[in-house]
Amino acid sequence: MSDAAAADLLGRAKSGEREAFEQLIGPLIEPGYHIAFGIMRDRYEAEDAVQEAALTAWRKIGQLREESSVRSWFFKIVVNRSRMQRRGAWHSVIRLPDLDVVGRWNEERTTRTLDLTAAVRELAENDRLLLFLHYGLDLPLQEVAPVVGLSPAGTKTRLYRVLKRLRPVLAESEGSIPWK
């Protein structure tokens, strides 16, 4: 979608046109769910949080600044909503059946993933969120920044530190892990 088309869509959504709002927010529902699930680890809670977030977005889209990223704005609402209703922390539960799912990969990668999983689980929640937004959802850092509440430069610095912390886990099989 071109910038002009996106701006037009946002303008129509801000004027209360529901179809335009749905076109803007619809594609963000599933990634929003993943963010919420990462915070609450409960499917129903996560779906509830995304639903409430969409309702909040609908009510407040008039306050969204033209130059802001709709994705960042909506994901921030999802994060706030999820934290409000959170019952548990990120990765607070390891479910054995899920480990079987991991096992469809080759053994070396599975072992590495489990180590990484443990390491990721030990990170602070906001650091996991940062990683998830950037590596799980492929958001550029300038869009990650407002969601995690940091400046773009601060986000980059924080990401560097988090990756540095994880590096020993990844370094165990460094030969097969392409560090850029």
Binding site: G16, E17, I29, V50, L116, V120, K164, R167, I177
Partner: protein, 246 residues
């Protein structure tokens, strides 16, 4: 120097244990949005502009103009309340597995009836039930339904349930806590005081639509089976639909 990890491995770790959302999540979320348009975002801006254009002599700083505009917009919004939706609320009790007695049919309409959106889990039921009829020709989105009975608040249904025009929504147990004996998360008869004398208070059903909550009194105590736990007093608990007054 920019560093980056093996993205697939990190992605696997980040998604560890994730459960996929419901297939219809997107449609459900979007359908749950209120039918009414979002509050006009530019109303305050329009009023500020109007004030500045028509009232230049008024010495209002930026903050003052905004404050005046907000007050006017609130008054305008309050002066045009949306009409209340045309809904009717009913209560019933479904007790389909009473031991020692033939299985009682659930109330009618029920799951699978024409025009019924059913929110509940079976196949066996020991639970109160709420039925909301949309008598209007437009969809109604129910923000939330809660039930107060026996000192407990039951808040077990997802918000934002949409009822199509001239259609029905039925809400009942959403979880089975044990199979034998059957225990559910909307067993409103269990909320009564112990004993076989009617002692339970009148249950109240709160239905929120468009931000307005209306309370419906279950004056005949259908939900709490007459104010006693009939299932433990030798009787069946099933009861057909009764309309609740607001």
């Amino acid at each position: 120097m920019e560093i980056g990890p093996d993205k697939p491995a990190l992605r696997d770790a980040l998604y560890e244990g994730f459960e996929p959302p419901s297939a219809e999540l997107r449609e459900r979320v979007l359908a749950s949005l209120p039918v009414a348009a979002a509050p006009a975002p530019s109303l305050v801006a329009h009023i500020i502009h109007w004030l500045q254009a028509h009232w230049p002599a008024l010495t209002l700083g930026g903050g003052g103009a905004v404050a005046v505009a907000v007050v006017i917009s609130v008054i305008l919004n309050q002066s045009a309340p949306s009409p209340p939706p045309t809904i009717e609320v009913y209560a019933a009790y479904a007790d389909t597995i009473r031991s020692g007695a033939p299985a009682a049919p659930p109330p009618s309409p029920w799951m699978g009836s024409p025009g019924v959106a059913f929110v509940g889990v079976g196949p066996d039921f020991d639970a109160g039930a709420i039925r909301i009829e949309n008598r209007s020709g437009t969809s109604v989105t129910i923000d939330r339904v809660t039930v107060d009975s026996g000192g407990q608040r039951f808040d077990i249904w997802q918000p934002g349930l949409k009822i199509a025009p001239h259609s029905t929504l039925i809400l009942t147990q959403t979880a089975v806590l044990s199979r034998a004996p059957l225990t559910t998360n909307f067993d409103t008869s269990e909320a009564n005081p112990s004993g076989c004398q009617p002692a339970g208070a009148i249950p109240i059903v709160h239905v929120s639509v468009n931000g307005t909550v209306r309370s419906y009194r279950d004056v005949n105590r259908v939900l709490n089976t007459g104010g006693l736990d009939a299932g433990n007093c030798g009787g069946a608990e099933s009861h057909g639909w009764e309309r609740l007054p607001a």
